[in-house]
């Protein structure tokens, strides 16, 4: 089981309360698709992803970004058992979606960059470290059912 200090729980929950799931999800997913274009292979049904403007304006990208952030909320509500919370999602990503777990890491890094852009000076190195740890736990949980 992952050990969370009170400061870490507070950092995660306080920031989470301020995050607009749709906006942050949209920015993060847009950046992943722009910065790491090979990730577009998982979104062949999304329509026009031909350039950064198309990606940013794509309504399916926006909707999916929100979905991802909403799911992250589940992990935050169950910080003491992210693995169990994500067991079905992990299975889905492995058996149905066939997503290379490396992509979880790319999305994690990108989400941190989006948070840094949104929160400015409030996104201190200590807060950055807490979110890095949280996302590492999420990534481990999502990768757990792969075989």
């Amino acid at each position: 089981m992952v050990h969370w200090t009170d400061a870490e729980r507070e950092a995660i929950n306080t920031f989470w309360a301020k995050i607009d799931h749709e906006e942050v999800g949209h920015q993060a997913l847009t950046r992943v698709l722009v910065v790491y274009p090979w990730t577009q292979r998982y979104f062949s049904t999304f329509g026009n992803l031909s350039n950064a403007t198309a990606i940013a304006g794509n309504p399916k990208v926006r909707a999916h970004g929100k979905r991802v952030l909403d799911a992250l909320g589940d992990a935050i509500t169950h910080l003491d058992n992210v693995s169990a919370t994500y067991a079905k999602l992990s299975q889905l990503h492995s058996e149905k979606l066939h997503v290379d777990p490396e992509n979880f890491r790319l999305l994690g890094e990108t989400l941190i960059i989006v948070l840094a852009g949104q929160f400015g000076a409030a996104f201190t190195p200590a807060i950055h470290a807490t979110w890095q740890k949280f996302l590492a736990v999420v990534i481990a949980a999502l990768s757990k059912q792969y075989h």
């Binding site: 847009t30 950046r31 722009v34 910065v35 950064a52 990606i55 940013a56 890094e109 941190i112 960059i113 989006v114 840094a116 852009g117 949104q118 400015g120 000076a121 996104f123 190195p125 200590a126 950055h128 470290a129 890095q132």
Partner: protein, 141 residues
């Protein structure tokens, strides 16, 4: 390979970094040591506490070295030749750490230049820092 737009983006953003190389370089290193504490092993001889003069000086050095390549991206291996030797033969920094520092630099850019650091700028800089890392490690073996 950089498009003309990407080259221009890198130059214009770097112009905004130039007045802050010490502060932002120091911050990138502070983030590196806080978020990825294992990286401190390369700095045992240095005061890595937050805000230390040594870290600001070193951060300044790192950012200026990166900046020295921004105007001539196609000749990066020439510009960084002696740094490339240093990293290969003396420092032998495990190349995985270049990715960690690059990430911290991107975080600093996003943090201080939120409107300029668009998805296209993010892409250009991700490529740029990856090239720097590649040049720094290409004499390793």
């Amino acid at each position: 390979m950089y498009s003309a737009t990407e080259k221009a983006l890198i130059v214009s953003i770097w112009e905004k970094v130039t007045p802050h190389t010490e502060q932002w370089g120091g911050e990138a290193l502070e983030r590196l040591f806080t978020v990825f504490p294992q990286t401190k092993i390369y700095f045992k001889h240095v005061d890595t506490s937050p805000g230390s003069a040594a870290i600001r000086t070193h951060g300044d050095k790192v950012m200026k070295a990166i900046g020295s390549t921004a105007g001539d991206l196609d000749n990066m291996s020439t510009t960084l030749s002696s740094l490339s030797n240093l990293h290969a033969y003396n420092l032998m920094v495990d190349p995985v750490n270049f990715k960690l520092l690059s990430h911290c630099i991107l975080v600093v850019l996003a943090n201080h230049l939120p409107s300029e650091f668009t998805p296209e700028a993010h892409l250009a800089f991700d490529k740029f820092l990856a090239s720097v890392a590649s040049v720094l490690s290409h004499k390793y073996r």
